[in-house]
Amino acid sequence: MYLTQFQTFSIILSVALGAMITRFLPFIFFPENKEPPQIVHYLGRVLPPSMMGLLVVYCLKNVTVLQAPFGLPELASIFLIVILQKWKRNVLLSIGGGTVLYMFIINYFGI
C-alpha cells in the first residue's frame, strides 16, 4: 500500500462522492412529484439511443483504424453480430457469436 489506510479510505469516498453526484443530480433537479419541463421530457425520450451510440463508439475508441489490423477484428465481429441479430433476433446468440469470433481472431492471429 502506498497510502495509509485513512488516506485510502478517503480516496474511495472521494471517488464515490464524484460518481454519486453524477448519478443523483438529475433525480434531485427533477424530483418525481414535480412535472419536469417539456425539454427534459424530450431529452429523456431521445437520449437513450444517442447514449447507446456513444457507448458503442466509446468501446471502440482504442481501435487502430490506420494501422494493422485496421480494426478488422472488431469490424468482422460486429458484422456477425448484426447478421445474427437480424436473422435470429436472439440477443444472447448474437452477443455470444460476436464475442467468440472476436476472441478467435485475436488469439489465432496473435493480435
Binding site: 500500500m1 478517503s10 460518481a19 443530480l25 439511443p49
Partner: protein, 236 residues
Amino acid sequence: MIQQEDKKIIQIKNAMKYAFPHTIPVMTGFLVLGMAYGVLMQANGYGTLWAVLMSGIAFCGSMQFVAVSLLTSPFQPVEAFLLSLMVNARHLFYGISMLDRFKGLGKVRLFLIYTLCDETFSISSSVQAPDGIDRRYFYFSISLLNYIYWVFATFLGGILGSFITMNTKGLDFVLTALFVVLFMEQMKTKENHTPGIIGILCSIVSLIIFGPNGMVIPAMIFILFTLLVRRKALCT
C-alpha cells in the same frame, strides 16, 4: 400480512427469473474486468478488502481503474473527486433518460440510482418488463445482479489473483457486443433512428478531435447541442 410477504417474494423471484438472461453478457464481461481490477489492486499492494470496498462503495468501473493511479501517487482526494465527476459525467444523461422509468418505485428507487452504470442503463432503457412482471422488481433485479457481479468478481480477482492463467484475451468484447445489440434494439423504433445516428456521429467527431481519452464529455455536449437544435427544427 404473511401472505403479502409471500406474494412479494414470489414477485421478486419471477422478476429475477425474467431479468437474469438479460444480464448474462454483463456477468461475463464483469467477471473478466472485475477480476482484472482485483488483480491490479493486489499488484499495487492493495488487498482484496480495499478492492471490494472500492467496487462496493464507488461502483464505477472505468473510474476505478483510473483511481489505481491515484492510490499509487501522493494523497490528493480533491483531485480524485474532480476526476471522478468528469469520468462519470455520462451518468447525468442516463439519469435524465431514467427519470420517467424510475418514477413511483418507492424505496427501491434510491438503490437503482446508486447503482446506475453503463450496463444497467443499456438494459433498463432497452428492455421493457412484460405483463405480469412488476416493473419495480424488474429494474431492481437488473441493477442488483449487475452490482453483485461486479463486487463478487473484484473479490474473486483479489483472492485468486494470478493463480488463474485461463486465456480470456478478448472476452471483454462481450460488453461491446452487448452495447451493439442493445443499440440495434433501440434503433428498431422509428423515432429513435435520428437520435441514434446523432449519437454515433457526434461521438466519432469527438473521438477524431479529442482523441480516445478526452472524447466523452465533448461527445455529450455535441449530442446535447444537436438534439436541442433538432427539437427546435421539429417544433417550427
